[in-house]
Symmetry: C2
Subunit: 148 residues, 2 copies
């Protein structure tokens, strides 16, 4: 029988603890929401959802907790055409993001092959290319069904 895998929220709480931060009810609530919701969330949305799990939660604590999670590399800010105030669990290794334009559902994928493109652009422009962003936008299966 395989050892049960630690859930993502537990992993994040452990990381907080390992870095000298205390594990509190407000932080547990924020972590559970952001780690499991599966859609981009801005600070206020996190606040609304997490308040259901911690009645006394304040918006300021959400900001502070997101800041710490981001500093630990557990979450990251998502860039979208209309604003960059939303967060998601951080990419693991070399991944890219696929976002639903309707509901904000997010999937990561890997396996891009941009070497040839990047070499060509580097040669043409004289730039040394060190990083790239690739992000796809569309409709998730659920929103395709709903919109038909």
């Amino acid at each position: 029988m395989p050892e049960p895998t630690a859930s993502i929220p537990d992993t994040w709480l452990q990381a907080l603890h390992d870095n000298g931060y205390r594990v509190t009810a407000p932080r547990r609530a924020v972590v559970e929401v952001v780690a499991t919701h599966g859609r981009v969330l801005n600070p206020y949305q996190v606040f609304e959802l997490a308040r259901a799990r911690c009645r006394t939660l304040g918006l300021v604590t959400v900001y502070r907790t997101l800041e710490k999670l981001e500093a630990l590399g557990l979450i990251e800010r998502v860039h979208q055409p209309h604003g960059c105030h939303a967060y998601l669990p951080a990419k693991i290794g070399h991944q890219h993001l696929l976002l639903c334009q309707v509901c904000g559902r997010a999937e990561y994928f890997s396996g891009d092959d941009l070497e040839a493109l990047i070499s060509r652009i580097a040669a043409r422009t004289g730039y040394q290319i060190r990083e790239h962003w690739l992000q796809l936008f569309g409709l998730c299966a659920g929103c395709r069904a709903g919109a038909s």
Copy 2:
């Protein structure tokens, strides 16, 4: 002898005029800076540079002019890891952005080939993919030389 091509600033000023906006000294200053500077600029940087061309220019006018240029599709907001408050002349057709991480110099390029990748991700995830962002970051030739 070829007809002299209208400069980018002139094209933009013409576009403002054609859309019922007046061509004023403050707008001329902002347009000339953003259209020719070749690097990403945030509103305050535009203000500082454009003030040299229009002594009375106010920061609020910069915001308002950028807003109009963006609405006309002449400029667009650039997304960067640390902030999304900078502008560049808008892409023409299907282009992508290459940015210098040191000085903000910007180049557009075309000729990506992501069809196969996008089809594969669409099939794997069930998403209908409608848009993509590809953006490269690195060091421009000038900054490579300077950094050596």
